[in-house]
């Protein structure tokens, strides 16, 4: 019945970072609930959501930590980078200042996560193309220079939101496959579960007829 959602082989931990008001919580909400949250309150500290996705036939559970963008929470949110397998670095394509701050976010992310953490740059609010303040090419170049994945998305229309989370997961999965991500190390941000269900296995040994009391 409802057993399916729990049959996943990996747990990936994500964090979402970026300036205040770029739509981090809305992206998460769109991804987990498939709905746009119109008047999203400021995040206090951190919040988190989960969803199960499928990459190359493997079910993966994403545990996503959505951090507050406000400067006053920096001290708190910094502590959540630890052990993230993926980081979504979000800016607002209609506000250049949020793009300009990316390098500081990137520095934080590089310093506080492990070297294998996959960072994806997301230009949010792609639906507001008329008010665009940062060009696609420019951001694309920034991403390439820094070895980041890059997408423009819209939490409002849902465009590319799914892809943003999936692309990062694919990259992480690929890292696992080619062995560059060591699952046995602590705080890799990935937890592997042996997929063979232990209780369901068939046994070849014949069971003795009776044991204990007979009634």
């Amino acid at each position: 019945m409802a057993t399916a959602p729990y049959n996943y082989s990996y747990i990936f931990k994500y964090i979402i970072i970026g300036d205040m008001g770029v739509g981090k919580s809305c992206l998460l909400h769109q991804f987990t609930e498939k709905k746009f949250m119109a008047d999203c309150p400021h995040t206090i500290g951190v919040e988190f959501g989960t969803r199960i996705i499928e990459v190359s036939g493997q079910k993966i559970k994403l545990q996503i930590w959505d951090t507050a963008g406000q400067e006053r929470f920096r001290a708190v949110t910094r502590s959540y980078y630890r052990g993230a397998a993926g980081a979504l670095m979000v800016y607002d394509i209609t506000r250049r200042s949020t793009y300009n701050h990316l390098s500081s976010w990137l520095t934080d992310a590089r310093n506080l996560t492990n070297p294998n953490t996959v960072i994806i740059l997301i230009g949010n609010k792609a639906d507001l193309d008329a008010q665009r303040d940062v060009t696609y090419e420019e951001a694309k170049q920034f991403a390439e220079e820094n070895g980041l994945l890059f997408l423009e998305a819209s939490a409002k229309t849902g465009e590319n939101v799914e892809d943003a989370f999936l692309e990062a997961a694919k990259k992480i999965y690929q890292n696992i496959q080619d062995g560059s991500l060591d699952l046995n190390a602590a705080e890799s941000g990935v937890q592997h579960k042996p997929s063979a269900p232990q209780g369901g296995r068939l046994t070849s040994e014949p069971q003795p007829q009776r044991e204990g009391c007979g009634c």
Partner: protein, 657 residues
């Protein structure tokens, strides 16, 4: 017939014999002549149509080959001879037939007697087997009845008993795995146990009771086995990721019917996860990520806020994950109180990390990193208490209690530190600086206060929770500060004292004004400032009056009573003295700023200074107005009063404003 045919046979012969004479006889027809009649008859005979005649003729032609007289005469004999031969042949043939028939008759006769015999024998046999048949029929019905009973019994067994496989599934071995089928069998046992109640209502009570008892026993055995399996399964859940298999969730669903076993299994799960979380926490503290990135949390122990924040964030994440694992573990449990169970077990799981956490935070706090840091740590603890209680609920879990304890401890040490600071202020009260500005102790304390309040403002503690802290912080710092200022000002002159106090209070007020929840304090400070302002205003007014020589005159005018006689006669109040004072007063009117008290220039706030000048000037005007009224009053017997005081109060006011 035989005769007829004889005649027919004879006729052709005569016809043929008479054929030649036909013509002659026909012409002389005599109708009533028998011969002619016969002739007619013959003539009318149509040989073509008479088949018998034709046959006869044909037969004749086979042997009558030679038409001669002799043969014609012998014809009859020939024919008769032939007929005889034919008949003889007939007889001999029929004789055979007859013999055959007779033998057949004999056979039939034999058969008949044989049948007779058989019939009688059958009759006898029938009579003999009658009994047997009755018996057989009886047995047959008996057998049918038994068959039906067997079916009923089978159906009964199928409904109220388990198959062997099911039995062995339920009893199983101690270490054998539990599979889906186990739960099906367990469901059957439950079903039977329920259904058997029907039997109790019928007259099959004994069977009902027995089955019930049997099922109950079986159920207990099965639950016992399930419990042991689930328990050992839980013990293996010690990886960082927690793989809750579908069968295990099913086991929990089944075990919820046995609250004690259910609870023990939950406990086992909790214990396994608990040690996992502790291990993970210690790893994060001391080992960090792969290759040391992220660095172990303890690497940041020199930065108390980061250190404490990292630990709490780790625990926050771990708590959230553990709750998820539990939700997966118990997702099929439908009994009420699952939420409480989850909270309780999360509480149990996170209990293990409390000691290492407590030891470390205590270390940080007791090292007294300074009031501001203490306050920040205290707020951080409060925030995490709030955040984590969102996951584990408000039940008194040890983790929350520990965080709360640490919060209280940090707060206590923080206030201790503030109080210590405050009492140090009182220990060595400095003299006010010569410029009557805020003392260095005051500045220092206000800086501290500002930092504390600023960190409070930027803390993650929800708004309403902050207010209570504020009152305490303010009373802890501001009250001793006010005391210190008062003590340090106590040895000064009135104007110096008031100026110093106004300056100090003003500094406090501007510091506080930047923060929320300070309205009450601000109001109180404003009142105190105003009290000291009044002093300064009075001081300034009397300073002016004294300097221009109106002080004595004004006092005398104020205290003068009619029975003392007219003012002009009082000493020092004569017109000469008044005129001299007016000269001074005029000088003041031309340059009022020259007569400001030196202390007023030390005032930090220009607005305050302006206010003092303005209000003291009004006082001076009022004093002059009173003196003027007295002088103009005829009862005071001044001659030429306008010559003495040549400026009206309105003029004075206009000049000074």
């Amino acid at each position: 017939m035989a005769e007829g045919s004889g005649e027919v046979v004879a006729l052709p012969a005569s016809g043929a014999a008479n054929g030649l004479s036909n013509g002659a006889g026909g012409t002389s027809a005599q109708p009533n002549n028998p011969l002619s009649r016969k002739l007619h008859k013959i003539l009318e005979t149509r040989l073509d149509n008479d088949k018998e005649m034709l046959e006869a003729l044909k037969a004749l032609s086979t042997f009558f080959v030679e038409n001669s007289l002799r043969t014609r005469r012998n014809l009859r004999g020939d024919i008769e001879r032939r007929s005889l031969a034919i008949n003889e042949e007939f007889v001999s043939i029929f004789k055979e037939v007859k013999e055959e028939l007779e033998s057949i008759n004999e056979d039939v006769q034999a058969m008949s007697s044989c049948c007779q015999d058989m019939t009688s024998r059958l009759q006898a046999a029938k009579e003999q087997t009658q009994d047997l048949i009755v018996k057989t029929t009886k047995l047959q019905t008996e057998s049918q009845r038994l068959e039906i009973r067997a079916q009923v019994a089978d159906a009964f067994l199928a409904k109220f008993q388990l198959t062997n496989e099911e039995m062995s599934l339920l009893r199983g071995t101690r270490e054998g795995p539990v599979t889906e089928d186990f739960f099906k069998a367990l469901g059957r046992v439950k079903q039977i146990h329920n259904d058997v109640k029907v039997l109790l209502r019928t007259n099959q009570q004994t069977a009902g009771l027995e089955i019930m008892e049997q099922m109950a026993l079986l159920q207990e055995t099965a639950y016992e086995r399930l419990y042991r399996w689930a328990q050992s399964e839980c013990r293996t859940l010690t990886q960082e990721s927690c793989d809750v298999s579908p069968v295990l969730t099913q086991a929990m669903e089944a075990l919820q019917d046995r609250p004690v076993l259910y609870k023990y299994t939950l406990d086992e799960f909790g214990t396994a996860r608990r040690s996992t979380v502790v291990r993970g926490f210690i790893d994060a503290l001391t080992r960090g990520g792969p290759g040391g990135t992220p660095r172990p949390i303890e690497m940041h122990s020199h930065d108390p806020l980061r250190y404490v924040g990292d630990m709490l964030a780790w625990l926050h994440q771990a708590t959230a994950s553990e709750k998820e694992h539990l939700e997966a573990f118990l997702k099929r449990v439908t009994a009420p109180g699952v939420e409480e169970n989850i909270q309780e077990v999360v509480g149990h799981i996170t209990e293990g990390v409390c000691r290492p956490l407590k030891v470390r935070i205590e270390q940080v706090i007791l090292a007294e990193p300074g009031a501001v840091l203490l306050y920040k740590i205290s707020n951080l603890l409060k925030f995490y208490h709030h955040t984590i209680s969102g996951i584990v609920g408000n039940s008194a879990t040890t983790l929350l209690t520990t965080i709360e304890e640490m919060h209280l401890l940090s707060k206590k040490i923080f206030f201790n530190s503030l109080s210590l600071h405050a009492s140090k202020l009182m220990d060595k009260v400095e003299l006010p600086p010569p410029d009557l500005g805020p003392s260095s102790a005051l500045n220092q304390t206000l800086t501290l206060l500002r930092e504390v309040l600023a960190s409070h403002d930027s803390s993650v503690v929800p708004l309403d929770a902050r207010q209570a802290d504020f009152v305490q912080v303010l009373s802890c710092v501001l009250d001793p500060l006010l005391q210190m200022c008062t003590v340090s000002a106590s040895n000064l002159g009135t104007a110096d004292m008031a100026t110093f106090m106004v300056n100090s209070l003003y500094m406090m007020k501007t510091t506080l004004a930047l923060f929320e929840f300070t309205d009450r304090r601000l109001e109180m400070l404003q009142f105190q400032i105003e009290a000291h302002l009044d002093t300064l205003i009075n001081e300034q007014a009397s300073y002016v009056l004294t300097r221009v020589g109106l002080s004595y005159i004004y006092n005398t005018v104020q205290q003068h009573k009619p029975e003392q006689g007219c003012l002009a006669n009082l000493p020092n109040l004569d017109s000469v003295a008044l005129k001299a004072a007016m000269v001074q007063f005029d000088r003041y009117l031309s340059a009022p700023d020259n007569l400001l008290m030196p202390q007023l220039n030390f005032l930090l706030s220009a607005t305050v200074k302006e206010q003092i000048v303005k209000q003291s000037t009004e006082l001076v005007c009022r004093a002059y107005a009173e003196v003027y009224a007295a002088v103009m009053n005829p009862t005071n017997e001044y001659k030429d009063p306008e010559g003495i005081l040549h400026r009206s109060p309105q003029q004075v006011q206009a000049l000074l404003s």
